[in-house]
C-alpha cells in the first residue's frame, strides 16, 4: 500500500492537452471556486455563530454577519458551570501530546526492529502484528474497557493514553519506511563502533525526521479528535476530553448556541494551527502512507 510520494507542491505542470483555452480555464476555476466555497461554509458558520448573540442566531431573518461582533463570547465556555471546558481542553492537550510521543517512540522502535534486526523468529512476530491489523480497534472497545476497568484505569490519563499506544498499523508503517532506509548509512555507523541502539538514535532517527513529523501530525490529529475511547473511559466529567465535552453540549437540556459554537471554534483552533504549519509533512505523509491511523 505504500505509495511513493511525489512533491505535490512542485508537481509537474498539468498535462497540456489541446483544449479549453481561456473559456475552459475559467470554467475550471469557477467549478473549483464553488466547491471551495461549499467546503468553507461550515467553518464560516462556526465563526459566525460563535460571535453572535443567541437571538441573532435563532432569529427570523438569516444573517450572514453579526450586527455587532460579540468578542465577549470568547470567555463564555470557560465561565460555564455545567461543563468544565478548561479542564477538558487541558485533558485533550495532555492526552494528544503523550499519545503522539508514545506512539512515535514505541512504534518506531518496533518497526525498526522488525525491519532491520536479524532474528530467527522475526517473521512470526511480524505476522502477529499483521493479524492485529485485521481486527479494527473500534470493535475491541468493549473488551478493552473491561480490561482497563479491571486495572482500575477508568477516568485516568493512563486509561486514556496507554491502550492506544500499541498501534499495529503505525508499527507497520514504520517498518515499511525503515525497509527503504539506506543501509549504508547504518553500516557506516556500525563501522564506527555504534551498536544497534546507538546507530538508531544517532543516525537513523535524525535522518528520518520528515517521516516522523508526518506520522506525528497524523497521530496528533487522531489523538485530539478521538471520541469513542475517551467517551468510554471518561465516566467522570473531570476526565472528559474536549470532544466528550462538546458532545455533552449537544445532549444538554438548555441549548446555548453561541457558547457551544465558541467552544467548538476553540477546540478546532489548535488543529488548524498544526495543520497550517505542518501541512507539508501531513500531505507528504498521507501520500506516502495512504492511511489515517
Amino acid at each position: 500500500m505504500t505509495i511513493t510520494a511525489p512533491d505535490i507542491d512542485k508537481a509537474a505542470k498539468p498535462v497540456k492537452v489541446k483544449r479549453g483555452g481561456v473559456i475552459g480555464n475559467t470554467g475550471l476555476y469557477i467549478a473549483t471556486g464553488i466547491a471551495a466555497l461549499l467546503f468553507l461554509i461550515p467553518f464560516y458558520l462556526i465563526v459566525r455563530n460563535a460571535l453572535m448573540t443567541d437571538p441573532e442566531i435563532t432569529g427570523e431573518e438569516w444573517k450572514w454577519f453579526p450586527t455587532a461582533i460579540q468578542w465577549g463570547n470568547i470567555t463564555e465556555p470557560f465561565n460555564d458551570v455545567t461543563v468544565d471546558f478548561a479542564r477538558s481542553l487541558w485533558n485533550s492537550v495532555v492526552v494528544a501530546v503523550l499519545h503522539t510521543a508514545g506512539i512515535l517512540l514505541i512504534c518506531s522502535m518496533a518497526g525498526y526492529g522488525l525491519a532491520r534486526i536479524p532474528y530467527r523468529h522475526a517473521n512470526k512476530v511480524f505476522y502477529a502484528v499483521l493479524v492485529t491489523l485485521m481486527v479494527p480497534t473500534a470493535v475491541t472497545f468493549v473488551p478493552s474497557f473491561v480490561l482497563v476497568s479491571s486495572l482500575g484505569w477508568v477516568d485516568s490519563y493512563r486509561g486514556l493514553i496507554i491502550p492506544g499506544l500499541f498501534s499495529g498499523f503505525t508499527c507497520f508503517l514504520f517498518r515499511q519506511y525503515f525497509l527503504g532506509f539506506p543501509k549504508e548509512l547504518e553500516e557506516a555507523a556500525r563501522v564506527d563502533g555504534l551498536g544497534y541502539w546507538g546507530a538508531y538514535w544517532r543516525v537513523v532517527v535524525p535522518n528520518s525526521l520528515n517521516f516522523f513529523a508526518a506520522i506525528a501530525t497524523i497521530t496528533f490529529i487522531n489523538g485530539w479528535n478521538a471520541f469513542l475511547w475517551p467517551l468510554v473511559i471518561g465516566q467522570d466529567p473531570s476526565a472528559w476530553t474536549v470532544q466528550v465535552a462538546l458532545s455533552s453540549y449537544m445532549t444538554n437540556q438548555t441549548v446555548n448556541y453561541h457558547l457551544i459554537f465558541m467552544a467548538t471554534a476553540i477546540s478546532i483552533l489548535p488543529l488548524i494551527f498544526v495543520f497550517l504549519f505542518l501541512q507539508r509533512w501531513l500531505v507528504q505523509g498521507i501520500a506516502q502512507t495512504g492511511i489515517k491511523g
Binding site: 505542470k13 492537452v17 471551495a36 485485521m134 553500516e187 468510554v232 478546532i268 501520500a287
Partner: protein, 321 residues
C-alpha cells in the same frame, strides 16, 4: 523532502557481501537487540490487543452483567441473543446501506476534487488546502455544526433557510426516519470530513502517471477529456482506487461518532458500534452480549475485508506495475 534525499543519498551498487563479518556472540546480540526494540511494543500489543480479544471471546460465553467477572457459563446463549436482537440486526443493515452510499460517493468526490485541483495552474496549493482542511475537524465538532446550524429542524438552520427562499416548508432533518432525511445529514458530514484526505491520495497517484501515456494517446487520436480519463487515468489509478475503497469500507464499519452525536435520541439509523456501545455500556451493562456482538462484528469485518481484497485484487495492481 528528506525521504527523497535520504533515498537519493544511497543508491550505490547493490552491496554484495556487505553483511557484517560473523563474530562471536553476534547472534545473541542481535536477538537481544531485537527484543530491546520490539519488546515494549509487543508486550503492549499482547496486553492491550490480544488479551482483550481473547477475553472478549471468553466473556461471550458467560453471563456477565454489571460486572466483568462472569458468573455463569451460558454457551452460545449470548450469540443467540445478539443474532436475534432486532436492533443489532438492523444496525448491520444500516451499515450496509451506509457503506453502499458513502463508499462510492467519497470515492467519486475525492477523485473529482483531485482531478480539478490537478488541472489548476495557479492557486493549486490554496485550493488543495481548502479541500483538505476539514481533515482537521473532529466528527463531534462537525456533527455539532451539521445538527445545530446547517440542518437544524427549524428555520434558522442554513438548509431550511435556503429552501425557504424557494417557498419550501421547513424539514425536520433528523427528527424522523420517514422520509429518511437524516441520511442526507449523515452522508454529507462524512463526505465533508473525509473527501479531502482521499483527494490527497488521488493527487499523489495522478502525478505518478507518466505523461508519455497522455502524449501517446493524443497521437493515437484519443480525445482529451472523457476518452483519456476512461482509458488512461482510470486504469492507472486502479491500485490507489482499490486501496481507497478498502480504507473507506473499514472507516464506514467503524462509524460511531457522527451517528452517536447526530441521532442521540433516535431509535433509527444506528450503526453496529452504537448498538454495541448501548449493549455493553448502556443501562444493562451486558458485557457478555456486548462481547458476543464484538466477536460477530470482528468476524464480519474480516470476512468482508478479505472478500473485497479477493474481488478487487488488492495489492495485485501495485505488484503488476
Amino acid at each position: 523532502m528528506s525521504t527523497t534525499t535520504t533515498r537519493g543519498v544511497a543508491q550505490p551498487a547493490p552491496a554484495q557481501a556487505s553483511k557484517p563479518r560473523p563474530r562471536r556472540g553476534l547472534r545473541a546480540s542481535s536477538t537481544f537487540n531485537f527484543w530491546l526494540f520490539t519488546g515494549p511494543f509487543l508486550i503492549g500489543l499482547i496486553i492491550f490487543v490480544f488479551v482483550p480479544i481473547g477475553w472478549s471471546v471468553w466473556l461471550s460465553f458467560f453471563e456477565a452483567r454489571f460486572t466483568v467477572t462472569p458468573s455463569e457459563f451460558v454457551g452460545f446463549e449470548n450469540y443467540r441473543q445478539v443474532l436475534t436482537d432486532e436492533d443489532f440486526l438492523n444496525s448491520l443493515v444500516t451499515f450496509t446501506v451506509f457503506a453502499a452510499f458513502i463508499v462510492p460517493a467519497t470515492w467519486a468526490m475525492s477523485l473529482g476534487l483531485a482531478l480539478l485541483v490537478n488541472r489548476l495552474r495557479f492557486m493549486r496549493a490554496f485550493f488543495r488546502s481548502v479541500f483538505f482542511l476539514p481533515t482537521a475537524v473532529s466528527y463531534v465538532a462537525a456533527s455539532l455544526i451539521w445538527k445545530m446550524s446547517l440542518f437544524n429542524g427549524v428555520r434558522f438552520g442554513l438548509a431550511n433557510t435556503v429552501i425557504g427562499w424557494f417557498g419550501v416548508d421547513n424539514i425536520a432533518w433528523l427528527a424522523s426516519p420517514d422520509p429518511p432525511w437524516y441520511w442526507l445529514v449523515i452522508v454529507t458530514v462524512r463526505l465533508w470530513l473525509q473527501s479531502g484526505f482521499f483527494m490527497i491520495l488521488f493527487l499523489a497517484a495522478l502525478q505518478n502517471i507518466p505523461r508519455e501515456l497522455y502524449e501517446a494517446a493524443s497521437i493515437d487520436g484519443a480525445k482529451p477529456g472523457w476518452q483519456t480519463f476512461r482509458h488512461i487515468t482510470l486504469p492507472q489509478l486502479r491500485a490507489t482506487s482499490t486501496a481507497v475503497i478498502l480504507l473507506l469500507l473499514i472507516a464506514a464499519y467503524q462509524a460511531f461518532d457522527e451517528f452517536y452525536n447526530l441521532l442521540t435520541k433516535a431509535t433509527w439509523g444506528q450503526p453496529p458500534l452504537v448498538e454495541l456501545y448501548k449493549m455493553a455500556l448502556g443501562e444493562n451493562q451486558n458485557y457478555g452480549a456486548g462481547s458476543a456482538g464484538a466477536v460477530v462484528l470482528t468476524v464480519l469485518i474480516c470476512v468482508v475485508t478479505l472478500l473485497q481484497g479477493k474481488i478487487m485484487g488488492f495489492g495485485r495492481g501495485e505488484e503488476s506495475k
